[in-house]
Symmetry: C2
Subunit: 464 residues, 2 copies
């Protein structure tokens, strides 16, 4: 029963020919794009606090473009209303409905800034030139033509842009970008405006070596490459969404993840080249020196939203496994890890296990059940009690012994490893969901990621 | 001390050369524009009920375009939020904020219609081609270019349009139309689409001879001319707003005011010619015959939002009164009635009283106080305890004795008349606010406007 390791080479190391398109991002005064999430603008008091922060940035000499999410629970409340009037609301109308949320928060924020004596104008996604495809609910950005934003900023105003929304190129209908949409709007606008930096404000001080709710002495990571951030986002870290990091990486847009509740430096997400430049240019502080030594491992991510399906007794013939994954692909299900047991010679049968997002579990089981006669497997098993723990670090590809130390730490904590997958900068294991916290803590300790003192503070709500 | 009567000839009788531009409105199947106010879409249940009504109209063979207001108290809640973040919110941003209200109701309504198996698409004011000037908060419609609405309707969909909002011609900023904006949107769209009729849905069964909350046996008026409706709207009747009726009159668009809670016929607002045609074409029902006899008086309107300012001891010289009204005009205050007492020969001083909306009282007093030295009056008196009762009817211009009967009925009820103004189809008196109900009831009875039995039912909320 040796597990087959399937490497994920989705996120290759960056093309070394990628250099920043211009020097404009390094001049001291330029455009700063700031993105504030729903927990940062949950009520009038928060909105006023964010307004003060924006005005301070403007007074420091920057042009400021702000991307804002809907206030607190607005989106959930609108979703509830929609389901009260229709069990299956139309996608176009759902987007029309949900975009009202950002409209409210952005107008209020502009008013609050105006009240501080600084001119501000709010813009819908459409007005800001966020052009998307026509896939309602999860539209992709095709182009950003921020002419009106440039004009407003040129006239000295702060431009407030609705996150999460755009307008479709073909039908001119209002679209929403789906999960992570506001972060992606911010990075896309920053790239189109050739901004210095895209600041993503949240309710923690940056990206930490592990979730501070599990590992209280987790350490803030001062510098992180796009690739490591992608691995973290793809493996359960909630701070930045995959799409947003992918967009930033393609456009080499620096991201600064920081808290809207403090003025501390957060985590800079940069290309590996920019990180190398920074570390070379600056006389390292004590903390940075310590970071350099340990740069080999960035952190431990975890994901509780996994489930596992096992197809038992599959005839070990060419094409049977392929047929299974074909059907799942047709059902639009993203498979994460796959393990195929070595077939027992006596029976000619094998078991195939794979993990997938828990939300897709029912769809996958239904699709596979229809395949029973065709493939002739014995039975299906569904387990929604699993989770994933991942060790991430750009250094691990050149460092032997990392995997061994990771597996040993988990085993020593009494946690059984069910599946394993790796990429060049990540090792992931699937474990019993109830043991995720133990596994995260053990791995975090094994790689000396702890801070000298507790520095992680979660200021606000749940960090969306 | 004889009051000077100042006639208001604002609303002259209609130009007899005005004939309907085409016959298209009289064909049996065409576009119907329906407008639903906030009380008709106050929650999910109301929205579903309105959706059923719309689908029924569509199934009857009509193309349907719907104009909808924000749900229930949404607008007030957004206003509260705005004032929490800023004491003087920017007008552009206020419009951006408030337009979120209709965005929510229209998307939910489109979903609810979709759930009944009928295709529906919602459109913002901007998408619907409602082009306005740039006066935020009370923009005027300049043009309506409903290309997308025509296309949606042509494809068989119900088009749902956000009331109360448009987009400015110059800056492309979102604007709101101010009070009565949703009714005006509906009539303007109906005119641009050459609709058969613009149906205004409310929470009463039409326009009544008096407010049914004061006069329980008030009678529904089946047919009302634009001119009489204008006088009613201008003098406190809350059902239709002045702007909307003016727009309908200019475009000869028939309005049908009716309840969203019943299927009864309501009040048709038409040109005097169309009314004459209707009455000539049809064999009159008993009720209509009774209406014809009494057509001379349409109803009694009242307005509780008046206040009165008296400038005491004004030197009776040419130009002094003019200076007073000049200053008020500069402060954008609409004066309603004016009374100038005959000056006492001994002193050469006179008193000038005028009425104005209570909301403008403070502004007016401040403007006049600054004028004290220049004009040299003795003192200012402010009375916010007054109201206005108006008798309206196209017939009164050719019927002597109407005024006398009106004044006598009010005097007999023990109510003192403070000021009087008249137009060709209206007589208004200012009385103590506490006596408005008595005056309305007395006048209503004096002109035999009562129904044989109580027919007025107020179904929903406050009727906005």
């Amino acid at each position: 029963m040796a597990p087959v390791r399937l490497d994920e080479a989705l996120f290759a190391s960056p093309d070394p020919s990628n250099t920043p398109p211009s020097n404009s991002r390094t001049v001291s005064v330029g455009i700063v794009v700031q993105k504030y999430g729903g927990s940062s603008v949950s009520d009038a008091a928060s909105i006023k606090r964010v307004a003060q922060r924006i005005v301070a940035t403007k007074k420091a000499g920057h042009d400021v473009v702000v991307v804002v999410s809907a206030m607190g629970d607005t989106t959930d409340e609108l979703l509830d209303l929609a389901h009260e009037v229709s069990p299956l609301p139309d996608g176009r109308e759902m987007d029309m409905l949900l975009t009202a949320g950002e409209r409210i928060s952005m107008a209020l924020l502009a008013m609050a800034i105006g009240n501080l004596g600084q001119q501000a104008q709010s813009f819908t996604g459409s007005q800001a030139g966020v052009i998307t495809d026509s896939v309602h609910g999860k539209a992709k950005i095709i182009d950003v033509t921020p002419g009106r934003i440039r004009k407003a900023v040129g006239e000295g105003a702060v431009a407030i842009v609705a996150g999460f929304q755009g307008v479709s190129q073909d039908s001119k209908d209002i679209t929403t970008l789906g999960r992570g949409g506001s972060d992606t709007t911010a990075v896309a606008l920053a790239a189109a405006l050739d901004a210095e930096v895209c600041e993503i404000y949240t309710d923690v001080d940056g990206i930490f070596t592990a979730d501070p709710r599990i590992v209280p002495n987790a350490r803030r990571i001062p510098l992180l490459s796009y690739e490591e951030t992608l691995e973290m986002a793809a493996n359960g870290a909630k701070i930045l969404h995959l799409r947003c990091v992918e967009y930033a990486r393609r456009n080499l847009m620096p991201i600064h993840v920081r808290s809207s509740f403090s003025t501390k430096e957060g985590t800079w997400v940069l290309s590996t080249e920019r990180i190398a430049e920074r570390l070379a240019d600056e006389v390292p502080t004590e903390q940075e020196a310590s970071v350099m030594e340990q740069a080999i491992i960035s952190g431990v991510a975890h994901d509780r939203s996994e489930s596992k399906i096992t197809v038992v007794g599959v005839p070990d013939k060419v094409g049977e496994a392929a047929r299974i994954f074909e059907v799942l692909a047709e059902a639009q299900i993203n498979i994460d890890m796959i393990v195929q047991n070595v077939s027992a010679a006596a029976t000619g049968l094998t078991d195939i296990s794979f993990t997938l997002p828990r939300a897709d579990g029912q769809t996958a089981m239904t699709a596979l059940a229809r395949l029973k006669d065709e493939v002739g497997y014995a039975q299906l098993q569904y387990d929604d009690g699993v989770g994933k723990v991942s060790l991430i670090g750009a250094g691990m590809r050149t460092n032997p012994g990392i995997s061994a130390r990771f597996f040993k730490s988990i085993a020593d904590a009494g946690v059984n490893i069910e599946m394993i997958s790796t990429s060049e900068i990540r090792i992931s294991v699937v474990v019993n969901e109830a043991q995720i916290d133990d596994a995260v803590s053990a791995a975090h300790a094994a790689f000396d990621l702890e801070a000298d003192e507790v520095e992680a503070v979660v200021y606000g709500g749940t960090g969306r």
